[in-house]
Subunit: 430 residues, 2 copies
């Protein structure tokens, strides 16, 4: 058997400890599949004395993670610090510059600096692997970048944030509102103390930017992803959507249009029998559509120490076996330069909920505005009657352009009888 | 860009023509992802003059497929002839012996001769790739062998035969019997003129044998798979199962027990909310359970020219990039020698349907036999009363050992009041 692959791990939080645990617990199967042992030789973290439930005996300790890049006992750097910049980026850049391959779970860094880091990896001729950056344990990077490599992919979509999916699943099951369930999720450890990164859709957008780059063979373009989170979703909208045969999910969606790539993250209505509609709780899932393979769906655990460690170690085994793939699926020079399409050009069906004064003529006014903007209605739903009081009215449109929809919404919001900012959600096929 | 990878394709049926079509239609994306063009240089098939809808202009034609192994213009042999033996096996053996890598979609050959072929590939130091052999376009070989390589897998199961799933899906939707739907499926091209390979479970068993070898890291052992097909499934059983909250699916299942690996293919009852229960029509799906990754499910098109070509080309791209993995996930010397467990040792819950004479004492007799064999009942269902006539009685057992169940069944079948051979189906978690 070949000499061991020696790994330097930067960041010993939940995932870092998980990687050490996996490599110890499954050393035999890992060595068989890698063709050589994979051993941790050095680590770096902020607090040398914290108990992480794993033994660090015999490992070199670096207070400065960047020092791992130069440690002669490290063949591969595993970056699990997180954050798009700061020490994570400094370490990865230093490692690549030193000709050391890197394995990372850092979606923010990949999404924001991935094009540049890919060029650095390509120039150095070393691997920059990141299976753990998207959808945790689901081997979706490998599936899209290698397994579907013969296909022109027309569409990729997914449930990419377990926190949001957990919150929306519970809101629906219990009929409770966002703030209540978020509080519960925080107490139970399913949401962070500062949850904005997850619930505002940023985390999902990082992952979607990565998936879209792989699916469409172009450099990652995080700035081109339109992002909306789930703070505005109410139990009322989930209930109305249910009456109409839909579930509300935070989706990442990217598809190829004649004008370029459309990529966006937002809560959307999905028909109840769409594959992604059934993915509940903390599970993640990704659906792709390729010209030869057709529809493929992958579903599994999107976060947590075990699933993320599984993905990190899969990358390490690839490295140990000498299996390498360009960061974005092709060399920088062979990537597509397809432009990004702005959300204003999006075409689809929309769900609108208005809170209006229940009096004659209101619906006629709303309908007239929609007509003036070329938006045609598929259905209208009003529950209960309360003359002179506030009632909810739900409208579902036929396919329309987002710019037209927004124009209409601005005018609808300005109507006297419309009492709150309207809620607008897109309807997606999944 | 590096020189092209030159491919010799043996077998120009639906899948062979699909591979030629894909490589022509997606030549640009394939070259970008492979780092070099992938071109077909030579072909072999039985009939030189048949119109296959693809151009063979400029390709060398070999009447004898084995000649592809020696063609100096062929870098990789793609075997799409099929059949465990005969020309397919002769070609693969000749190619490996000549130091040529092989890509094949041949599940029968892999399942029956895969241990030996893996040794030949290892001795020659060349790849034997077979993503297309299992579940068509779903990159399940790559997912299990590489993506989950850090895990100890405890269980793998799947819907592995689209013909059977199509038939069972339609039987349930239409309440019609097996023979009728099979006839329809044959007319529509979803079942072969001689359907026995599919409906008797052999095809699914080939695929399960391959998946089990990868999941548990041991040489493939087709002979150890217990196989039952779907000929005995009636509309009546599907309806009874539905009343009890189950669907009937042809499943391939393998799991690790303390005594070794249990691998079997049979129609089984799955709870309606189990992930595999919702996979309908010609879709295939595979569920794995790994110690770190947890549950992962992959679902997609399991057959057809496009999906199968997608898998073949993914293997070719791996080869073009120099990505290689031992056939069974580890070198022959590093594989496990875990024994196989016979079906008699299976422990689970069972569904029994008996056709009995409706007279006092019959149920008591049946219950006494079950008690004598240590089989305890969870529920009993009888629909309708017809004194002196034949009625169906459905029994669901608690967990019991298959050997006990079979002993009891032999005695039940011999009871005077039991008029047809009993139907026994296992209940699985999915």
């Amino acid at each position: 058997m070949s000499p061991p692959l020696r790994v330097g791990v930067a960041g010993l939080g939940t995932v870092g400890a998980g990687v050490l645990t996996l490599l110890a617990a499954n050393a035999d199967v890992v060595a068989a599949r890698a063709g050589r042992p994979i051993v941790v030789s050095a680590v770096s973290a902020r607090d040398r004395n914290r108990d992480r439930g794993v033994s660090l005996a015999g490992l070199r300790w670096h207070d400065d993670p960047v020092a791992l890049a130069a440690d002669p006992n490290v063949d591969v750097v595993v970056e699990l610090i997180g954050g798009a910049d700061g020490p994570a980026r400094a370490l990865v850049e230093a490692a690549l510059a030193a000709g050391r391959p890197v394995v990372t779970a850092n979606k923010a860094m990949l999404a924001v600096h991935g094009a540049e880091l890919a060029r650095a990896a390509e120039a150095a001729g070393v691997a920059l692997a990141f299976e753990a950056a998207v959808a945790g344990g689901i081997p979706v990077i490998k599936a899209v970048r290698e397994g579907l490599a013969g296909n022109r992919i027309s569409r990729i979509s997914g449930i990419l944030n377990g926190t949001c999916n957990y919150i929306l699943t519970r809101m629906r099951a219990e009929g409770r509102d966002f703030a209540e369930i978020l509080g519960d999720a925080q107490r139970l450890g399913y949401a962070e103390a500062d949850p904005s990164f997850d619930i505002d859709g940023i985390d999902a957008a990082h992952k979607l930017a990565i998936l879209a780059a792989l699916a469409f063979g172009r450099p990652v373009a995080f700035g081109a992803v339109h992002v909306e989170g789930i703070r505005g979703i109410s139990a009322r909208d989930i209930a109305f959507a249910g009456e109409l045969g839909y579930r509300i999910k935070l989706l990442g969606l990217a598809h190829a249009t004649p004008d370029g790539i459309s990529a966006r993250v937002y809560p959307a209505l999905l028909a109840e029998d769409a594959p992604l509609a059934r993915v509940d709780g903390v599970y993640n899932a990704v659906v792709t559509e390729g010209d030869f393979v057709g529809r493929l769906m992958l579903e599994g655990r999107g976060a947590g120490a075990g699933p993320t460690a599984s993905a990190v170690v899969a990358d390490l085994i690839d490295l140990a076996r000498g299996r390498a793939t360009p960061v974005w699926g092709a060399a920088a020079g062979a990537l597509s330069d397809a432009p990004s399409v702005p959300i204003a050009a999006h075409v689809g069906c929309y769900y609108l909920r208005l809170m209006v004064v229940d009096r004659p003529g209101v619906i006629a006014d709303v309908a007239a505005v929609l007509r003036d903007h070329g938006v045609s209605l598929e259905s209208m739903l009003q529950r209960g009657r309360a003359p002179g009081e506030t009632v909810a009215v739900v409208l579902v449109t036929h396919e329309t352009r987002e710019s037209a929809m927004r124009g209409a919404l601005d005018r609808i919001a300005a109507l006297d009888a419309v009492l709150e900012p309207p809620t607008m959600l897109r309807i997606e096929a999944g």
